[in-house]
Every structure is written in C-alpha cells, then in structure tokens.
C-alpha cells in the first residue's frame, strides 16, 4: 500500500481524516472533551468539500440527525464522550433495529457522570455493548495508536455500510490526544465500501426481505422506493408487527448477520504470544503500556506475551480462548473496575487464572506497573 509522507498527527485528527477518507458526507455533533477536536476539524473540512456539518443542540439531536442523513444516503458520523454517549443510547438502538449505517465515535473519559473530563479512563466498555435497551448486536472497535485511529475509522464506515448497522469507535482520552508520526495510506489505495442499493424495480421492492446474505438492500429516502422505517419491530415490508412468527426471525437475522461475519469482525493483534507463559490482554492506551512491558520483560528473560484487542465487540472469544489456555496466568490491565476482565473470565470459564489490574484514579497504567504486577506470576 502506498503511503503519504509522514505527518505528526493527533488521534482525534486521524479519526477525522479517516472519516473523510471513508467518504463521510455528514457530521452532526455536540462539543465534549476529549472528542471536540473531531468536530472542529470536520467543521472546517466538510463544508469545504460541499458536504454537511452541523452542531446540534445536544447529543440526542446529533445522533438523530446522523440517522436522518444516513437514511437519505449519506455516510454519517458523530463523535462524543461518555455523558453524550449515554444520551445517544436510545437513538443507537433505533439505528440497530432499523439497520441504519453510521459511525459513532466515543472518546472515553473518566466517569460516571461528568467524572473527570480531561482524565483518561476505559469505563465505557460495557456501555458500548449494552448501553441501549433490548437485545441487539454491537460492533465496537478500539484504537490504540494514531495510525489505528485512522484505520479503524475507515473500517468502521466500511462495516457500517456493508452490514447495515451502527458501528462504534471506542477510543480513549490518551489515544485521542496522543501525537504520533504516521504515514497514512493514500486515499486512492484504501478499500472503501458503499452500501448496496436495491436493483429490483420499486413495484417489486420488499425493503427488509433479504436473500441468503441476511443484509437488506435498503433504498435511500428519495430514491423512488417509498417504504416505511420504524423503530418498532417490523415485518419484511417495514410495517410494525407483533406476530411471533415474524418477530423471532427478525431478531435472529439481526444477530445472524453479525454472527455470520464473526471471522472478519474478530480483530486482535498478538505480540510474542507463541511461547508466552504469562499473557496480557489489553486495548486502547493500556495496550501501548502492555507492548512496552512485553518488550522489557522479554529483555529481562521473562516470557510475557500480549493479545491486543482491536475488535472489542463482538467479543473475540476464539482468539482470547487460544491466548489464555495453558498459560501460567493472564493479566488484564484496564482503566476501570474490571469491565473487560470479566469478559475474559467468562471465556476462560475457570480454565485459566485471569487477574484484573485496574486503575481508577484518572492516571494511565505504566509499563513498570504492569511489570511489577506480573513478577508475582513468574
């Protein structure tokens, strides 16, 4: 892949650039630290491309506007942090049940509530999975570097458009405000996926009827296919239904389209795993500390490995299972009370020793801290 010349970029800047590269034509947002730079950059660059940018009156409105824009055919994104993310949850569920593609960036900060606005935390792991009400699948991607901020934003748009679902980019304050030298791929080198449109004439069109692919070919509003979109459970024609023989298959398809693509969604980055006696499982900024800890441990003769989780939800259980079984111990460092470690424990199901290492004081976990902690296992 050809690269552009190296630049010094911030994580939030890379997210904005990723969105533009992926073809984002609509952004609606409401200011919140530490995500505001994304709005500021897109507020400058989208109008200059003749595309839409709007600062809405709140986060509920922001996601609502993104949904409307997406229904009308635009690739749409919003960006927020924990408190705003909470406000978006109802509309997020609406986007799930109506299969509306969009990208929602949540740059985590310390909570609950207004918490510590400028301090890092990784406390929205479970909110990203279960925040909205009802049963629904979730796709959540976790960048750990500026380069990944770009890459995963592009990937989020591609997954959203292909699978027709909202996709969450779950970044954290450290990664979002980190500046790193990166060479972004040239825009014409990127694979950009466009949503599939119906090919049948409008008279034959049944909007939510799918072929074996499980993903409906939804027309954009105003494209001559006049159909109904509702947050109520709907039949294949898009009209509300409560018939058990229509409701059950609907939910099975909603989950099925994610399950069938699990192989592709399971995204992890192993580091020194093959012969590792102790394994770290980490994501976001904590994965960076873990990488350094692995390098230092190896230099000191300790067989430490790392499984970095990139695709957080659906949970990469196959990769995690492989990484944890037969090790002396598994340490999950994260900036919360154990939101990921409980998931790792669930997958390990008592077959491996899983230890949580949390920090909730608004400070990051350092490589030294991890090294001190793993000494007890060697």
């Amino acid at each position: 892949m050809s690269k552009q010349k190296p630049e010094l970029l911030q994580g939030n800047e890379a997210i904005a650039r990723g969105a533009l590269a992926a073809g984002c034509r609509f952004f609606a947002g409401y200011p919140i630290t530490p995500a505001s730079e994304i709005s500021e950059i897109l507020g400058r660059r989208l109008p200059a491309r003749g595309a839409a940018f709007i600062q809405m009156e709140d986060e509920i409105a922001s996601l609502g506007a993104c949904i409307g824009a997406s229904l009308a055919g635009a690739k749409a994104m919003t960006a927020t942090s924990g408190p705003g993310f909470s406000l978006m949850q109802e509309n997020l569920g609406w986007a799930c049940i109506t299969e509306t593609p969009l990208v929602l960036v949540n740059v985590m900060r310390a909570g609950p509530s207004t918490g510590m606005p400028t301090n890092p935390a990784q406390g929205d792991v479970q909110q990203a999975r279960w925040g909205t009400h009802g049963d629904h699948p979730a796709i959540v991607l976790c960048p750990a570097s500026v380069a990944q901020c770009f890459e995963l934003t592009v990937r989020a748009f591609n997954l959203a458009e292909r699978l027709r679902t909202p996709v969450i980019v779950l970044a954290d304050e450290v990664v979002a405000h980190l500046r790193e030298k990166v060479s972004l791929p040239a825009e014409d080198e990127l694979e950009i996926i466009e949503r599939r449109k119906p090919s049948v004439p409008p008279d034959w069109y049944v909007p939510f009827k799918t072929d074996g692919g499980l993903i409906p070919h939804l027309a954009d509003l105003g494209d001559g296919y006049r159909y109904h979109v509702t947050g109520l459970v709907h039949d294949e024609r898009g009209f509300p239904t409560r018939r058990p023989d229509e409701v059950e298959p609907f939910f099975r398809r909603l989950f099925g389209k994610i399950r069938r693509n699990f192989g592709e969604l399971e995204q992890v980055l192993p580091m020194a795993l093959d012969d590792a006696e102790v394994v770290l499982i980490a994501y976001g900024c904590t994965a960076r500390a873990a990488q350094a800890a692995v390098r230092q441990a190896r230099a000191a003769g300790m067989k430490l490995g790392l499984l970095q989780i990139v695709g957080l939800w659906p949970f990469p259980r196959r990769a995690v299972e492989k990484a944890v079984l037969g090790r002396r111990a598994v340490l999950v460092p994260e900036l919360n009370m154990g939101q990921l470690s409980r998931e790792v424990k669930r997958v390990a199901a008592g077959r491996a020793r899983v230890v949580h290492h949390g920090r909730m004081d608004g400070q990051v976990i350092t490589p030294d801290e991890i090294l001190n902690r793993i000494r007890e296992f060697f």
Partner: protein, 283 residues
C-alpha cells in the same frame, strides 16, 4: 383551488398497510391525514420527493399510512431526524408530524432550535392537550385545572402556547387551525410546506377517549363543535377586546416572514466561502 378528489387522495395512501388504522374511531388524526395528503397533492408534490418523519404517540403513527418515504423515529426526535434528511438531500420536501407531548415536552428543545435555525422543514404539531397514546396523562398544553390521568386533582401547570413559542423562537411561518376547519387546514398545511425555511402548523384535534372523557367534554362531535365555537379567524381576533377573547383562540396565519435567510441558504453561502478559502486540504 379546485378540490382534490377522494380517489386522488386514495392514491396517496398505503393499501398494503393493514388498514384499519390504529386510531380510535372519531379521532381527529384521520382528518389531519386527509388534509395533509390533499395539501401535498395541491402543491403538486411528487410522492418520490417527500419524506414524512414522525415521533412516537398516536400522532406519530400517521406517516405509515402515506405512500411516501416515511420514518417513525424516537419520541421527541422527529425534527432531528428530519434535519439530517434535509441536509443530506435538500431536494426532498421534509415534513414532520408530532404530538404536543412529542414536540414540546421531550422534543421541546429540538423545536426551539429548528425554529431558531430556520431549518428548511415543516412541523405539523397536533395539539390534543394530553398524551394520547400512553393514556391521557397531562402534557405541556393541558389547560390549568383540567383533569388528566396524572392530574387527578386538576392540572396545576400553566399550559404552553405552541404557536407563541414557535414565533418567539424564530419560525418564519406559524399557523394554527383545528380539524374542524378542514378547508382552512388544507390551505395552511400547503402554505407551511411551500414556505422556505421553518414552517409550523399547530393543529387542534380532539382526543375524546382520553382528554374528553376525563374532562366530561362529551363525544368527539361535541369537542369538534367546541372548536367551531372557540376558534376565531385571526383577522377578526385582532378586533376583539380582552373580555371577548376569553375562552377562545385565534386560527389562521399567525406569523409570516418570507424574507428570512433559511438554514440551507446560509449553509450554501458558507460552502462557497469555505471552498474559496481552499481549506479542504488542511486538517
């Protein structure tokens, strides 16, 4: 304007949707449905170029019956969804339909800001003075002293004047009518839809099953008759003194400014400035 025939209206309804509709027999929402369709036909709108967006409530169910692109959004958020649709596809006529609870309670902030921006949308707000779908609780428009299922001892909150709120917030076109005054309603809806910028029509409609029953207002016919007696054309309203205004309300076009810059016009001008500055390449 020549009357729109029933057959033509029929052609704009969705027959593959399992009629009959969800509304109580005699609810004013059926009248509004007909009126809205006639307004769109009179304006010569193309079905393919209309997006009808509603929130949740009895009123929110209206779009499902109309054969255009229709969206049943979340409670209170119709205007936000519509804002996205309009910005992404400005060539569409984007019309929102909301209940009074939908538009002024949970969605009150969105209403204020859509009006302030002069967003290029139409907002039809059905005022039945209560929350219909959830069983007749008091809403921001319930009159003082009226009973509701959450106001057993009479409502103690002064009601909101929807039209006055919209005018104060900056809407360029604000009108009020009732489902009794159908011919006027057809005309006002057409005016609001063709208005550049944010156009509002407040539509008084009887909810006899909830509000009417709890306040002993009689049948839907009685409630319609009350609209007939209480509504005063705005031209005549101006000449009424305070005493003769009591218990009555003005209907017709309450405010109209055609010279205002709409949001989309302002956005278009900004795009030109941004492109001239060549800011595209800089992050």
């Amino acid at each position: 304007m020549p009357p729109v025939s029933r057959g033509v209206v029929h052609g704009w309804l969705r027959h593959d949707k399992k009629f009959p509709h969800v509304w109580c027999p005699g609810c004013g929402l059926g009248v509004l449905l007909g009126s809205l369709v006639r307004a769109m036909i009179t304006l010569g709108l193309d079905k393919n170029n209309v997006a009808l967006v509603a929130g949740i409530g009895c009123t929110g169910r209206l779009p499902v019956y109309v054969d255009v692109g229709s969206v049943h959004a979340t409670h209170g958020r119709a205007l936000t969804f519509a804002t996205g649709v309009k910005l992404a596809k400005p060539e569409l006529a984007v019309i929102t339909v909301m209940g009074d609870g939908d538009a002024t309670a949970i969605g009150g902030n969105h209403l204020i800001h859509a009006a302030r921006r002069n967003m290029d949308l139409t907002a039809i707000i059905v005022n039945n003075q209560n929350y219909g779908m959830t069983g007749g609780q008091y809403s921001p428009t319930t009159p003082l002293g009226a009973r509701a299922s959450t106001a057993t001892y009479g409502n103690i909150e002064p009601p909101l004047d929807i039209s006055a709120l919209c005018m104060a917030a900056g809407a360029g076109f604000v009108a009020r009518s009732t489902v009794y005054h159908v011919t006027q309603l057809d005309d006002l809806l057409a005016q609001a839809i063709s208005h550049r910028g944010f156009g509002v029509v407040e539509v008084l409609s009887p909810c006899h099953t909830n509000f009417g029953r709890q306040n002993k207002l009689g049948s839907q016919i009685d409630m319609m008759r009350a609209f007939k007696e209480q509504a005063v054309r705005v031209e005549r309203w101006a000449k009424l003194d305070g005493a003769r205004r009591a218990g009555r309300f003005p209907i017709g076009v309450l405010a109209r400014r055609d010279e205002d810059t709409t949001y989309l016009e302002a956005y278009g001008a900004m795009v030109e400035r941004a492109m001239a500055q060549g800011r595209e390449g800089q992050s």
